[in-house]
């Protein structure tokens, strides 16, 4: 019998620490599958963020570094410049990439660093207990926007992907979702594209992944997926941005 589904080499056979229904497990697997399919496991260097995915290196079976909150793209810039033949990527959440690390994000993108960014957007700070993120939707209730995010008080959800697409050093930006199996397949294609771009020395690629956080959205895993489709995707439309 032909084996059509198996554990990817780039993912260790261990249980993850993520909450039920969290998107990180899926996103980790997509990255691992892409790394294996492209045959780059032995060249890959991943940068784990601060936040829920901080111990991604406990799950990925290749070289990894950690970065201080928001600094992943500064760390990645240097690693890639020292080892241009390696495939370097960052895996960052919205608090990491779009709040404390906005500066590093914009400037690495603007330098056109030949890097791949997997940007997990779940519209909330997960690890610290569900506080408002820069990507939190208007009206969304969090630990620090108890009445729901209000534009007058908190500003609008930030659209990092659209902003970065304006920069000439950025060659590829796509927003995908983990909302359904079909969307997960599209997400994988986009992540693969972002890695292929680096292999082909094309420049800075970013894939924004809309990912469920049932715990801090106060929803069941199923409701969280529906919320991505019905609410989040309206604010953050899917598709190729650049």
């Amino acid at each position: 019998m032909e084996k059509i589904f198996f554990r990817t080499e780039s993912l260790y056979d261990v249980a993850t620490h993520y909450c039920p229904g969290c998107g990180h497990g899926i996103a980790h697997r997509l990255v691992a599958e892409v790394v294996d399919e492209l045959g780059i496991r032995e060249k890959a260097i991943g940068i784990a963020p601060v936040g829920c995915a901080v111990v991604a290196y406990d799950y990925w079976n290749f070289d990894c570094s950690e970065a201080a909150h928001g600094r992943a793209l500064a760390v990645a810039t240097a690693i890639k410049r020292i080892h241009p033949q390696n495939i370097v990527f960052t895996y960052q959440g919205d608090g990491d990439l779009a709040a404390i690390g906005t500066n590093e994000t914009i400037h690495a993108a603007n330098r056109g660093e030949n890097l791949t960014v997997v940007f997990i957007n779940n519209a909330v700070y997960g690890m610290t207990g569900g506080q408002m993120a820069p990507t939190t939707l208007l009206g969304q209730k969090t630990a620090t926007s108890i009445e729901g995010r209000q534009k007058e008080k908190h500003g609008y959800p930030i659209k990092i992907s659209e902003m970065l697409a304006l920069l000439p050093g950025v060659i590829y930006v796509e927003r995908v979702s983990l909302q359904s199996p079909q969307e997960v397949l599209k997400a994988k294609r986009a992540i693969k594209q972002a890695f292929e771009n680096q292999i082909n020395n094309l420049g800075f690629s970013l894939v924004e992944v809309l990912s469920p956080c049932p715990t801090y959205w106060g929803q069941s895993p199923k409701e969280a997926l529906d919320w991505i489709r019905d609410v989040m995707q309206k604010e953050f439309p899917l598709g190729r941005i650049k």
């Binding site: 496991r41 032995e42 060249k43 890959a44 260097i45 784990a48 901080v54 111990v55 290196y57 990925w60 079976n61 290749f62 070289d63 990894c64 570094s65 950690e66 970065a67 201080a68 600094r71 500064a74 760390v75 990645a76 810039t77 240097a78 690693i79 410049r81 020292i82 080892h83 390696n86 500066n103 590093e104 914009i106 400037h107």
Partner: protein, 348 residues
């Protein structure tokens, strides 16, 4: 190879020393009074090396983190307010056991302060500066030649102990020019760094991190760091001592301040006053050995371009055995020879 002597500023000497030591990665952000250093690195970084003008000091130090994690000899430089911004990254470098060189050409503070030379970052440098239980090796050159030489030493020490090393100078040292004898030492090839991130071909994956969540894991790791610091304390004390055998008053000063102290000593010695000098070169570990003087009548005079920061280390080293006096100015004020001599006359 013929020994070459060139006229060069302290900032440039550090940059040249770094290149001579095989530094192949520099990231920095301009700030006075160390701008000649970043400009020199931009101009002279070898072809295979990487120079990046970072968007900020936090970015610069985290680039240094990345390059060090990738196994390169890497360096950044800045001045006081910029070093404050780098403290997060320095703590992470220490926590991830990465070798790196950080240059602080100090200016006046606190806050934006001014661009005049000062020595008021001593506490920040020698006490860790960022969060957590860690140390940097701190080297304080007293001349342009020494700035060049110690920069080379700093890369070797960083690699040897896998710790960040800081060159601590001030705006005078950074900007004054002196002849420097260039080294004929062959550039050391990077020592093998089996822990570095290079891709996991033929080995198990490497992880560079400073996160220890399991109960007891961080304490265990920190005890390991402390053991390393203990070895450094024992082996890496550096200082210069002058006229210690017969001195009645011993000046204690480092860096630029020690140069002024030396002028004072030669002036006073010429009229028969028995004055000596202890010049700590490593500020961490702070040299203990030269303060082991039995004669209780010896008096120390600590002179600093700050309001008594190294003074605390001298007090610890002297351990109450002898009297300690202090003279310090800050904010761009530099204790003059005259001020020091007047103070010594009062003590004698």
């Amino acid at each position: 190879m013929e020994k070459k002597k060139i006229l060069i500023s302290g900032n440039e000497a550090i940059a040249e020393g770094a290149i001579q030591a095989g530094c192949t990665f520099y990231a920095g952000y301009p700030i006075t009074p160390q701008n000649e250093l970043i400009a020199y690195m931009a101009k002279h970084m070898p072809e295979k090396g990487v120079f990046i003008q970072a968007e900020s000091e936090p970015a610069a130090i985290n680039m240094v983190y990345g390059a060090a994690a990738a196994g390169a000899r890497s360096m950044t430089s800045s001045s006081s307010p910029g070093i404050s911004l780098m403290q997060e990254g320095i703590s992470y470098i220490a926590g991830s056991q990465l070798p790196a060189v950080i240059v602080n050409i100090m200016r006046g503070g606190p806050g934006l302060g001014n661009i005049a030379p000062a020595q008021s970052d001593y506490f920040q440098a020698t006490r860790g500066g960022g969060h957590g239980d860690y140390h940097l090796i701190i080297l304080a050159p007293g001349s342009v030649q020494e700035a060049y030489d110690l920069t080379q030493t700093s890369f070797d020490l960083a690699d040897k102990y896998r710790v960040p090393v800081m060159i601590l100078g001030d705006g005078i040292l950074g900007q004054m020019m002196e002849p420097v004898q260039l080294s004929t030492k062959k550039i050391k090839a990077n020592t093998f760094k089996g822990w570095a991130l290079t891709g996991c071909k033929g080995r198990k994956p490497n992880i560079v991190k400073s996160f220890f969540l399991r109960e007891g894991a961080l304490e265990e790791f920190n005890l390991g760091l402390q053991k390393n610091y203990e070895i450094i304390r024992k082996k890496e004390e550096r200082y210069e001592g002058l006229f210690l055998s017969d001195a009645k008053v011993i000046l204690v000063a480092y860096g630029t301040m020690a140069r002024i102290a030396k002028s004072v000593i030669s002036q006073l010695r010429s009229i028969g006053e028995k004055v000596g000098l202890i010049r700590p070169i490593s500020l961490w570990p702070f040299p203990q050995e030269p303060f082991n003087l039995k004669n209780k009548k010896i008096k120390y005079l600590v002179v600093e371009m700050s309001y008594g920061q190294m003074l605390e280390d001298v007090k610890l080293a002297v351990g109450g055995r002898q009297r300690i006096e202090f003279l310090g100015r800050s904010g761009g004020g530099v204790p003059s020879q005259e001020e020091i001599i007047n103070k010594i006359k009062k003590i004698l």
